[in-house]
């Protein structure tokens, strides 16, 4: 049987992205033909400005070269404009007579620049700014002429003006509104922008209406006259006053259009065999001009073209960033506000920084940043998530606290970093290398950056910096996914929350059942989703779901921590950091017997034996005769203690004994990520409880509990949770808090990230305020841990034997 025929009209970013999505999910469904009016394969239109400014070449911005089309068996008609759709006989006809039949038609005709209807708008030297041809013409004009006038003070106009200025022209920007970028900026920010562009030599004429363009002796444009009678010289006029969806072809075929080709939530037009994506489309009355929403449309259209029929496009919130090197501005959502909204404003005119956040019902609905846009992606994420901001309102304007992030020399603002500065300290990736990869390889997401450069693929602490670089390089094309909707991994579209909910609602107890029910795209997942699914199962259905060792990463499978040379480290448990002479003697004997090369005291008050061969693990454990220290798991690690009232003259509580009780209660507890506790006997806090998941500080009248601290990738100070009187209450409150985290946390989310997502109030309501719920959580934790077994003892007894035995030939 021959394949169905898909014809795409338009060879731009939205259309080709749709094909890419389609080929990814259903590579053999269609025989594909593409018509492109331009003579070039698909290129990154967003980067035309850097080409104009001389920072990049046309070759750099090609996204899909000819080989890509050939590799996917796509017939490509370049330089041919489709002039007719014969819907009755299902075929398209191009201006050169080429005909192609279709079963499905995808219209991606983009938009046309709007040319002001003034006399002289057809003169040579009057152009729009839309494609490679326009860009070439501007570059050429800059070599031969001196006076350029750009009509339109929007994003595109300013980028064109900046590029022409850099190419040596004398540039005047003419704008009809009272300030620049009036659709992206409020007046204050618009004026600041104008000032800094004037400092670079650009000239502005605001509130000017063009009356006519006047030809010179050669017939080329030579001057521009305004309605107030003013006239200035102009050898090149660039019209950047907006675009109109290109609907001519669709309209001529009788497909319903209304300020764009009208589509439903599946990107289908009024003709069911015809789909449309991109700037030519009107979806729920909105035509989008930024690439991020268009990519979302492409993904949905591809899903329906592949006959999967499971996704809907429901519209997008967009953000803007001007791509003029050295000028930092960002805006998103509703930044003007009205009587229902509140504003938080910072205006440092001398310092060139302006920030305005617009808030409605404790939610961020819009914002403008000028001069310091580092937190743009963070605000935008909150806006998309609809996150309640009242807890962080007092420091919201000062941005996401990057204090405590390590590994990139204290930088928190990508814009201020030199190209040679190291962004990712784990993998040694510089800012310049990331920018280069984004431009040359056409990267659009953080995941792309991870794959191609390895930056932020290890500890992830530089993910925020990478996002800033991405947003600075490709502007509004970068849209972070709403965090609560981020897919678990490439194997599925579903988020962690959806997976957790489905496991509970559908009572799923096997990984294969989740993958089947939730339509996983890969046969058995990957190293990212399988450990997550395994954890969700055993934490949701502890009595029913069976742990799958093959879905645990090596450390939790071997019950030791793999090192760079393939040997393992062994950390025996020392409750509360206490040990005995007999234990120390056994550790010393083991170290000698197995020639342990390195013995180290850990930060969690334990002893680490490094360099153990896997074949020796079981006999080492046997000789140690101590339980596992779980120093390898997403599990309870250690309870660090000070000497407390037992010995210390300042101690107010028995810190060691409290720590031991907590550690015994939590033994063998698995969690979304590792869990560390500390107990200090007085507020001097020698056990450093302020940077633990649960920190307990003894005071004369009882204990203070702190939660969500972190001392690793991100230093995060724990927040006060509750004050209690007795040891029993310490166990109950901290146990209930940890059980809440275990039941609600996403895999690999530390308590600090979990609390950042759900809010401390949520945890307080569930644990502190609601006594019944607290007791229920605590009871579930104890019930689950009452049969806890020491994994080392089990393996000495023969469990998972094949893991530790080698074969030979």
């Amino acid at each position: 049987m021959s394949k169905a025929k898909l014809v795409m009209v338009g060879n731009g970013m939205a259309g080709v992205r749709t094909l890419e999505e389609l080929l990814k999910i259903s590579p053999d469904h269609y025989d594909i033909t593409v018509f492109g009016a331009e003579p070039h394969p698909n290129y990154n239109r967003i980067l035309l400005s850097p080409v104009l400014a001389g920072e990049m070449t046309v070759q750099d911005i090609i996204l899909n070269d000819h080989a890509w089309y050939a590799d996917h068996g796509i017939r490509l008609h370049l330089g041919k404009t489709v002039t007719k759709i014969d819907r009755f006989r299902r075929r398209v006809i191009a201006d050169d007579g080429t005909e192609e039949p279709y079963d499905r038609l995808l219209l991606a005709t983009g938009s046309n620049p709007f040319m002001l209807p003034v006399p002289g708008n057809q003169l040579p030297g009057v152009i729009a700014y839309r494609d490679i041809k326009d860009t070439d013409e501007m570059i050429d004009a800059a070599k031969r002429y001196s006076h350029a006038v750009v009509i339109g003070g929007g994003l595109l106009g300013l980028e064109a003006a900046n590029g022409l200025k850099q190419r040596g022209m004398d540039v005047t920007v003419v704008h009809v509104a009272g300030w620049l970028l009036e659709r992206q900026l409020d007046e204050t920010a618009g004026k600041m922008l104008q000032k800094s562009l004037e400092d670079r030599g650009l000239k502005f004429l605001l509130q000017k209406q063009t009356e006519m363009l006047i030809a010179g002796e050669s017939g080329r444009v030579a001057a521009i006259r305004f309605k107030d009678g003013m006239q200035i010289p102009a050898d090149l006029v660039v019209m950047a006053v907006g675009v109109r969806p290109n609907t001519a072809l669709a309209e001529s075929a009788g497909i319903y259009c209304n300020r764009g080709i009208v589509v439903n939530d599946t990107l289908q037009t009024y003709d069911p065999k015809v789909y449309a994506v991109g700037e030519c489309v009107a979806h729920r009355g909105v035509a989008y001009g930024l690439v991020a929403p268009l990519f979302e449309q492409g993904k949905v259209a591809a899903n329906h073209l592949a006959n999967f029929g499971i996704s809907r496009y429901t519209g997008s919130v967009t953000s803007t960033k001007l791509k003029v090197t050295g000028i930092d501005l960002f805006s998103a959502g509703d930044f003007t506000g009205n009587s229902d909204t509140e504003e938080i404003v910072l205006n440092d005119a001398a310092g060139g920084v302006y920030k305005k956040l617009v808030i409605r019902d404790n939610k961020l609905v819009g914002g403008v940043l000028y001069g310091d846009t580092a937190d743009g992606p963070w605000y935008f994420q909150m806006l998309r998530d609809g996150q309640d901001i009242h807890e962080i309102r007092d420091h919201l304007l000062f941005g996401q606290s990057h204090v405590g992030d390590v590994g990139h020399q204290g930088h928190s603002k990508a814009a201020a970093m030199a190209d040679s500065a190291e962004v990712c300290g784990c993998n040694g990736v510089s800012k310049g290398a990331i920018v280069k990869a984004i431009k040359e390889k056409g990267l659009f997401t953080l995941d792309d950056i991870k794959k191609h450069t390895k930056a932020s693929s290890s500890c992830g602490s530089c993910a925020g910096l990478c996002e800033q670089i991405l947003s600075a390089t490709i502007g509004g094309a970068y849209t972070p996914a709403a965090s609560n909707r981020k897919a678990v991994c490439g194997c599925t579209e579903h988020s962690h929350q959806e997976v957790r909910d489905t496991i509970r609602r559908q009572h799923l107890i096997r990984i294969a059942d989740i993958m089947h029910f939730m339509e996983w795209k890969t046969p058995d997942g990957c190293e990212k989703c399988r450990p997550a699914l395994n954890y969700y199962l055993i934490s949701t259905w502890p009595k029913e779901a069976k742990d799958d060792p093959r879905s645990r990463l090596i450390n939790e499978r071997a019950h030791a921590n793999i090192q760079k040379d393939g040997t393992y480290s062994v950390v025996p448990r020392m409750w509360g950091g206490l040990t005995t002479a007999a234990e120390l003697r056994r550790i010393a004997d083991v170290a000698e017997k197995y020639q342990v090369p390195t013995i180290k005291v850990t930060g969690g008050q334990r002893i680490d034996l490094l360099g153990i061969k896997k074949d020796d693990l079981i006999s080492v454990w046997k000789d140690l005769d101590m339980p596992s220290g779980h120093a390898y798991g997403k599990s309870i690690r250690t309870v660090k203690t000070c000497v407390g009232m037992e010995h210390c003259r300042f101690g107010t509580q028995l810190a060691m004994s409290m720590g031991i009780k907590l550690e015994k209660m939590l033994f063998d507890m698995y969690a979304p990520h590792k869990v560390k506790l500390a107990v200090s006997g007085c507020p001097r806090n020698c056990a450093e409880a302020g940077i633990k998941d649960v920190g307990v500080i003894g005071v004369d009248s009882g204990y203070e509990l702190y939660v969500g601290g972190n001392g690793g990738i991100k230093t995060e100070v724990a927040q006060f949770f509750v004050k209690v009187k007795s040891d029993e209450e310490v166990m109950e409150y901290s146990g209930a808090f940890l059980q809440l985290y275990r039941e609600e946390g996403f895999y690999l989310e530390r308590t600090c990230h979990y609390l950042e997502r759900v809010g401390l109030d949520h945890a307080r309501n569930k644990v502190v305020e609601d006594e019944e719920n607290r007791k229920a959580l605590y009871a579930r934790l104890l019930d689950e841990l009452k049969d806890a077994k020491d994994p080392w003892a089990e393996r000495i007894a023969g469990v998972e034997k094949q893991e530790y035995e080698t074969l030979s030939v």
């Binding site: 990957c526 399988r530 060792p549 760079k564 080698t806 030939v809």
Partner: protein, 102 residues
């Protein structure tokens, strides 16, 4: 001359798991997929020498335990955009017995 050596029963290798074979050639990792295909690679990731046998198996790929590089089990090639490969050894399963050509 390479020839077929009997290794173990297929059930001695867990599904989506692996075993390490000690050989004169160095360690060889033998993997079993969810569809009971068996593959063997030199137990060394081309990136930084990580023991592939300790990785997580999914589809016909394994993810190295050290830095998460992925390798195709059937070819030994690293999954793009990374590049490199690990030596592949032919395997066969006959009446539940696993053989390795070495």
């Amino acid at each position: 001359m390479a020839d077929w050596k009997m290794l173990c029963r297929i059930e001695d290798i867990p599904q989506l798991g692996s075993r390490v074979v000690k050989s004169a050639d160095g360690d060889i990792a033998v993997f079993r997929t969810s569809s009971d295909d068996v593959f063997a690679l030199r137990d060394k990731c081309p990136h930084k020498g990580g023991p592939l046998s300790q990785g997580l198996v999914h589809g016909t790929q394994v993810t190295c335990p050290l830095h998460g590089w992925k390798l195709h089990l059937d070819s030994g090639e690293v999954v793009a955009p990374d590049v490199g490969c690990s030596r592949r050894y032919p395997t066969k399963v006959d009446a539940g017995n696993v053989f390795l050509e070495i």
